[in-house]
């Protein structure tokens, strides 16, 4: 519905959005609460910072590598990526538009002057502690609301009393990592990637770039050249990580880009749940965030990766905001492994992000649950790729996109069934909702099937076979969505509702949305 007589010339005078009948009022409110004027994480922290020389060159990369006291092999790895990047072109296929990025206008390294990593939480500058406290992320373990006692707690007890270990990344460096000692007792390595390079070079060398190769894509290659900090997690065989792990990324300094690198390895039979949050101050210029996340799940391992992405989206006129160009990929390398991505996307001016699963191990499972809300002039092109290589691999994609204001929200997803992926299954459901007539909602699914015995379903349409199964499950009192989950993945679990965390409040608001009145 158009409130100003129908031509685009008038759109700037448009103040009130008329919402189509039948759209849930709570949903409209929830989306409104996410408008940029309500962005509460938009403050900036004044602290003395140290920067790399502005711009990007081999010298910048040497500077970063030297700052982090990296071994030669890693410097060479970075330089190889940089040289490759120089020959690559920025991708243009996504449904997003932004003015050309001047890669020489950014600082590729910014760290608080007083030092990168602090020996003890007491050494962390008060300004930074305050910043995280204000964002609701207490870094002093004693301040963590949900209990600290008992290092020898059992996994079961830990589940009942959820706690969160946090790696706090401030611009280019990790400033604090909590609960490390306790995690060490369980054998879990949880530290910044810079520390991991120093303390566990063999693991880093083995896995870094093994899921997202240096040459993967323009932004991943850039990241490989200049990545600053990020989190490293290794969960040893048979260990169920006793608490939730999380990283909180804060971009603070002006004219910087953040290029974190996260690497999570779950050894045989291990389990970890990892959460990631991100915010940035309101600034008028666009800042670049090009992260790479690599997950490796070996036999029977499970990784649950949740993101609440709330980078500064820019103001309502589209000024400022983060360019969020992220490569996230999980490799279900082992048999019966499982990787589950959950994302709540509300921030960033432009998002280009496709958390994916390579289902290599037989009977491995990939999941992708996404809620993306765009407001103002935000543009999001996000989705997933499920690459079925192993036998009896299963994947499930649930994506809900909500567009409001003058934003554009695109779901782009690939389901690919390899010739060897006997009896693979996928279920995809993507709903979109438009609030007002000045936004856009798009769906671009790619489905490649090379197996006759694969069963692929997109949206609400189901084949006869599933209809029977659905009927069977429904008859026994299961809701349709539950029934579908049961059929495809063999279990029912609404991952979104499992976000415990400090993100819960924020995510909860989003979960209230209803897709009634959706357009398809």
């Amino acid at each position: 519905m158009d409130c100003c007589g129908g031509t685009d010339e008038h759109e700037d005078d448009c103040t009130e959005v008329i919402v189509k009948e039948g759209i849930d009022a709570k949903t409209v409110e929830a989306a409104k609460a996410l408008e940029s004027e309500n962005y509460s994480a938009g403050f900036s922290t004044t602290i003395d910072m140290e920067f790399s020389p502005k711009g990007l060159s081999e010298d910048t990369i040497r500077f970063i590598s030297a700052k982090k006291e990296e071994p030669d092999w890693l410097l060479e790895w970075r330089l190889a990526a940089y040289r490759r990047w120089l020959t690559m072109e920025e991708p243009t296929w996504a449904k997003v538009r932004y003015s050309p990025i001047d890669y020489q206008a950014y600082y590729y390294y910014a760290a608080p002057k007083s030092g990168a990593k602090y020996e003890s939480i007491d050494d962390v500058p008060q300004e930074i502690l305050d910043t995280y406290a204000k964002l609701g992320i207490p870094l002093r373990e004693a301040e963590v609301l949900l209990g600290v006692e008992g290092a020898a707690e059992t996994a079961a007890a830990a589940r009942e009393k959820p706690r969160v270990a946090v790696d706090a990344v401030f611009d280019s460096v990790s400033v604090a990592t909590t609960f490390r000692k306790e995690l060490e007792k369980a054998g879990v390595i949880f530290m910044s990637i810079s520390e991991a390079v120093r303390d566990h070079p063999e693991l880093v060398k083995k896995y870094l770039g093994s899921v997202v190769p240096q040459s993967d894509n323009f932004f991943a290659t850039l990241n490989s050249a200049v990545f600053s900090d990020g989190t490293f997690v290794y969960v040893p065989k048979g260990v169920r990580c006793p608490m939730e792990l999380s990283t909180y990324f804060r971009m603070n300094a002006e004219n910087t880009g953040q290029f974190e690198r996260t690497l999570i390895i779950c050894d045989e039979g291990a389990y970890v749940s990892y959460l990631e949050g991100c915010t940035a101050p309101m600034r008028d210029e666009n800042q670049l965030h090009a992260a790479v996340v690599e997950l490796v799940a070996l036999d029977d391992a499970e990784i649950k990766y949740s993101t609440v992405q709330n980078w500064w989206p820019g103001d309502e006129d589209g000024k400022g905001g983060i360019y969020n160009f992220v490569t996230k990929r999980g490799d279900c390398r082992g048999a019966r492994s499982k990787i589950s991505w959950t994302q709540v996307e509300t921030g960033s001016a432009v998002t280009w992000k496709y958390p994916s699963c390579i289902l290599r191990g037989d009977d491995s499972v990939g999941e992708f649950y996404s809620i993306a809300v765009t407001n103002g002039r935000q543009q999001a092109d996000t989705g997933t790729k499920m690459i079925h290589l192993g036998k009896r691999t299963r994947s499930r994609i649930i994506s809900k996109g909500i567009s409001a204001g003058k934003s554009d929200n695109t779901y782009r997803g690939l389901v690919s069934i390899n010739k060897r992926a006997e009896k693979a299954r996928n279920f995809t459901q993507c709903d979109s909702l438009l609030i007002g007539g000045r936004c856009g909602a798009h769906t671009v699914p790619y489905v490649e099937n090379r197996r006759a015995d694969a069963q692929l379903e997109h949206e609400a349409t189901t084949t006869k076979l599933s209809e029977d199964q659905l009927f069977y499950a429904r008859q026994r009192g299961l809701g349709e969505e539950q029934a579908v989950a049961l059929l495809v993945n063999g279990f029912v679990r609404e991952v979104l509702q499992e976000l415990p965390m400090e993100f819960a409040v924020e995510a909860q608001k989003l979960l209230e949305v209803s897709l009634e009145g959706s357009v398809g």
Binding site: M1, S432, A441, T443, P445, E448, R451, D453, H458, D468
Partner: protein
């Protein structure tokens, strides 16, 4: 050939050199030049171009040569049809035309809007004509009680290019059919359908070719207020067959039905691509595409609904694609896409692919029906829905499908 012309395509392969040479031999014509440039800008379409990722023409068409001849009867020619034939070297059209149908065979090219988005349509526009063949065959239809217009593209040779424009006057009603029977190494046609207010047109497309042939049929359809366009396609594929339809709802209340069935055996590739722009309020689109593929065959479905800002409100559109992979080794690639900028619309899409329902097979086997027969029966029933809109030709298409399934 001038150097400038050669430069239009970077690193041309033998096929592209042949196309450049053919263009160079046609009389100079500014419109023809524009169409050719639109084609040449991206070379022969290849997999790095989004809309051609699964249908790589450049890879399939290395050289243009006459393939071994396979004779296929045109079962769509019936008594009530006015037949126009396009071969690599000739063109025939009926001598007696009934009142209400006017035909102009123009030697020159006509302007082609949207050439950039339809590269092989642009190529057909640029290379049709020469000798006795029309550059553009223009047909005007007025009236309601008219015979079916039938266009046949066949005959041995290297390449067969054709361009047809059909204008259906307000309130007129006409049925049109097209048979692509192969014979040429490369066939490219461009058909432009313009339906004026309240006009009704039913189009049936039948395509069959060998695994040595590459074919591209591009249709551009414009619908005025209340016009109704119904399209039914039965495709058996070729080395590469691309059947592309772009529909533009230009005035309120237009309706388009785009149904297709593809059946691909080993070495056959059928690509059904559609793009529908809902550029006026309250337009309706219904689309059902069904496919069945054997070992070594490949089916491609790309559907897109676009609802532009402001103008597309009250759009009612539904897209379904269901495919059967009848044997291991079959491939089905699909992209059902929605691009929506209006909030008060109903757009749905569904996509499934997999094997035949094991329960249904079991049921038939239990009743003593042999496996092959059961499979053929179920597959025929599966694709039948997509052929229901072919009117008088439904039975003909069903028969063709049945014969293929019984092989």
């Amino acid at each position: 050939m001038t150097t400038a012309l050669r430069d239009l395509i970077t690193n041309p392969n033998a096929a592209e050199l042949e196309l450049l040479a053919r263009y160079g031999m046609l009389p100079e014509d500014a419109r023809r030049a524009r169409a050719f440039e639109a084609f040449a800008k991206e070379d022969l379409p290849h997999r790095r171009i989004e809309g051609w990722r699964w249908t790589d023409v450049k890879a399939a068409l290395q050289v243009i040569e006459t393939p071994p001849r396979i004779t296929v009867a045109d079962t769509l020619i019936t008594d009530n049809a006015l037949v126009f034939t396009f071969t690599p070297t000739g063109f025939t059209w009926p001598e007696d035309l009934p009142e209400g149908i006017r035909v102009l065979a123009k030697p020159e090219a006509q302007a082609f809007g949207g050439a950039e988005t339809m590269p092989l349509g642009a190529l057909a526009a640029a290379l049709s004509g020469g000798g006795k063949r029309p550059g553009t065959l223009m047909i005007e239809v007025a009236g309601t009680d008219l015979p079916r217009l039938h266009f046949q593209f066949s005959g041995a040779g290297e390449a067969n290019f054709a361009r047809i424009q059909i204008l259906v006057r307000p309130g007129a009603f006409v049925a049109v059919s097209e048979s692509y029977l192969g014979g040429a190494g490369f066939t490219a046609s461009l058909l432009e359908y313009s339906l004026q207010k309240g006009a009704v047109l039913s189009r049936t497309v039948y395509q069959r070719a060998s695994t040595a042939e590459v074919l591209a049929s591009t249709a551009s359809v414009q619908l005025d207020e209340g016009a109704a366009y119904t399209q039914t396609t039965l495709a058996f594929g070729a080395k590469l067959a691309r059947l592309e339809t772009r529909v533009s709802h230009q005035q309120a209340g237009a309706k388009a039905t785009l149904n297709a069935a593809y059946l691909c055996a080993a070495g056959h590739h059928a690509d059904i691509t559609t793009d529908v722009r809902h550029g006026a309020p309250a337009c309706v689109t219904r689309q059902v595409t069904k496919g069945a593929v054997l070992d070594g065959g490949r089916g491609v479905f790309q559907g897109k609904f676009l609802v532009p800002r402001n103008v597309g409100q009250k759009t009612d559109a539904d897209m379904q694609h269901n495919a059967l992979l009848l044997e291991e080794g079959a491939e089905v690639f699909a992209k059902p896409e929605l691009e929506i900028y209006a909030d008060d619309v109903e757009c749905a899409h569904g996509n499934t692919s997999g094997a035949l329902d094991a329960n249904q097979m079991f049921y038939m086997r239990q009743r003593g029906i042999a496996e092959d027969e059961a499979r053929a029966l179920l597959t025929e029933a599966f694709i039948a829905e997509a052929l229901e809109t072919a009117g008088d030709l439904e039975d003909v298409l069903r028969e063709q499908a049945r014969a293929w399934l019984a092989r």
